[in-house]
């Protein structure tokens, strides 16, 4: 097949996949996760049920794929907020602030709870681990620079940050988010 044809098919596939994931997120925001079916997802995505089954074996697979897409997007946003030329603490601050904003936005738009629901899942675990590694590396560097406590392992500090900042989902506004980031950072002080 010519390259252009392949590209068109790839684009179409990506569009169907994205429509399914968007539909899933909307449905969960409306009804919660209980009894979410492939038929509902297909209908909301505006595609046939048979088509949906070509992409995902079941509703849980759609959920997992949606969550992986979320985390990947978030990682891109964090990487964009991070300037490796800055001192360690400035980098940490910028990244944690961005993560808090993402949490706030994500709770407002489709319930941050989805993320935590999927903890048990192997696939999602890998995606989450990439997120944690990113924060953990920044923390380790800041600890070496003497700007973050080194009496607690960096992976535990990363878990603390990621969990504490999910409180941004309930924060009433930007000032509250800033205060949350400041309190979270205060916990990291040497």
């Amino acid at each position: 097949m010519p390259k252009l044809w392949n590209e068109t098919i790839d684009k179409h596939r990506a569009a169907v996949r994205d429509a399914a994931l968007d539909a899933m997120a909307t449905l969960v925001a409306e009804h919660g996760l209980v009894a979410l079916t492939m038929s509902q997802i297909a209908e909301r995505a505006g595609i046939g049920r048979a088509t949906l089954y070509k992409y995902f074996p079941d509703a849980h697979a759609v959920l997992t794929a949606w969550h992986e897409r979320q985390i990947t997007t978030h990682l891109d946003q964090l990487a964009a907020a991070d300037d490796p030329a800055d001192p360690a603490l400035v980098r940490l601050q910028a990244v944690l602030r961005t993560y808090a904003r993402i949490q706030h936005h994500s709770a407002a738009h489709h319930g941050g709870e989805l993320a935590t629901l999927l903890h048990r899942d192997e696939h999602v675990d890998r995606a989450r681990r990439r997120l944690r590694d990113f924060i953990q590396d920044l923390l380790a560097e800041a600890a070496r620079a003497g700007e973050v406590r080194d009496d607690v392992p960096a992976d535990e500090l990363a878990d603390y940050c990621l969990h504490a900042l999910t409180a941004a989902g309930a924060a009433p506004g930007h000032d509250a988010i800033h205060r949350l980031v400041a309190v979270t950072l205060a916990g990291l002080r040497p």
Copy 2:
């Protein structure tokens, strides 16, 4: 009806209700929440489907009731850990430590994620608010005693604590839980 008879009926009702809630928690731990049905819950609880419907209108209602039972139990445990005769910071420490242990235990046994899944729910919101109020009051008292920062509202600090301590769910053991509580408390320092 004689009093004894009423008591027997009440006990029976409580037992059926509890069996349904336990079944729900087990099923969610096994399969996740997607497509959890009343039939599955009834079968696992060892009661008829018609009986289950006498207690709960749908699977989501079982979930909500389960979560409310959880939070009530947790509040009792926190209240038991709290000695009003102690100084504010000691009380706060004891309560946060207990909450971290609860999170650790609850993540190990039936996925702490259930809690966060239900945020949107009015009923559960009330139960969660009681939990937050409890922590918030302790924080406000500690702030008045000059042992906790007063530049951030106590309700925001309470949210920070409750979210940060959910990281205990992933903590490898008791030492890590202690470190997490210490880091969380460090964020609260004046």
